[in-house]
């Protein structure tokens, strides 16, 4: 018999769902800009978790696993749709009035602009600003090189700034 000092918590599916459903749903929603599809993907991710629960080590592992699977499924769903989801850039209307900081209109504009980005930079931006992951964590989650993550984020920010300026939204 081998004794271990680490305490292993029992994993409860319901608790994992409560704790992580917003994260999983939001990854899919921000990526696809489609609430119904995001809900469907989120449900599938948790069904998959349930199937694989015996192999999940700890709550931290569960969070890591869920995020990775949510990212994979969202990207797969986008590819199946075979078109850029959502929003063509032309559809992102210029506001008639410059929205103030924190304005929901600005938030919606930003979400739509994010949705116009190509898949990989789009997901990198979501993992950075929704999940507050650092570039190394983003690279690991997405299975892409660290350098690629950094350049995607840099370029995406530059692109967003440019598009916002054209719409009269800029640094105050």
């Amino acid at each position: 018999m081998i004794g271990l000092t680490a305490v292993r918590q029992a994993l409860d599916f319901g608790e994992l769902m409560r704790e992580h459903r917003a994260m999983v749903f939001s990854v899919a929603w921000h990526f696809l800009h489609d609430r119904d599809l995001a809900e469907e993907i989120a449900q599938d991710v948790f069904l998959s978790l349930h199937k694989n629960l015996a192999g999940i080590e700890t709550p931290a592992h569960a969070g890591f696993w869920l995020r990775k699977v949510a990212v994979q499924r969202a990207i797969d769903a986008a590819r199946k749709r075979q078109r850029r989801p959502q929003v063509a850039l032309e559809d992102v209307a210029e506001p008639s009035v410059r929205p103030p900081a924190g304005d929901p209109m600005l938030g919606e504009m930003l979400r739509k602009l994010i949705a116009t980005l190509p898949e990989t930079p789009r997901m990198a931006m979501i993992l950075k600003y929704q999940e507050d992951l650092d570039p190394t964590e983003i690279a690991e989650t997405m299975g892409i090189p660290l350098g690629t993550v950094k350049s995607h984020i840099q370029r995406s920010l530059a692109l967003l700034r440019e598009k916002l300026e054209r719409r009269g939204v800029g640094e105050r």
């Binding site: 459903r21 749903f25 979501i126 640094e171």
Partner: protein, 87 residues
């Protein structure tokens, strides 16, 4: 973090799915997979012997994978913990 990054953090804040999400997931958990029921019915109806065999095979394969997943994960946990104590 500049103004744009702050706005992005706010814009991309997590949102909850529609109320009742947990219930919808649980409902699907306890339902026999619909595709399985429909596929089985269709196969029986068209009397496709080979198609039925294929279907049965996929079901058997899925069960084998589940069994090995469960047993394998327990053994893997033992293996990981044994390796941890050796270090």
């Amino acid at each position: 973090m500049d103004w744009l990054e702050q706005e992005l953090t706010q814009a991309l804040a997590r949102k909850e799915p529609a109320p009742g999400f947990d219930g919808r997931v649980r409902a699907r958990l306890h339902r026999r997979p619909q595709w399985l029921a429909i596929a089985a019915t269709i196969l029986v109806m068209i009397g496709g012997g080979e198609a039925w065999r294929q279907h049965q095979g996929q079901v058997a394969k899925e069960q084998v994978m589940t069994a090995l997943r469960i047993a394998g994960s327990k053994l893997n946990r033992v293996q990981v913990q044994l390796k941890g104590t050796e270090q």
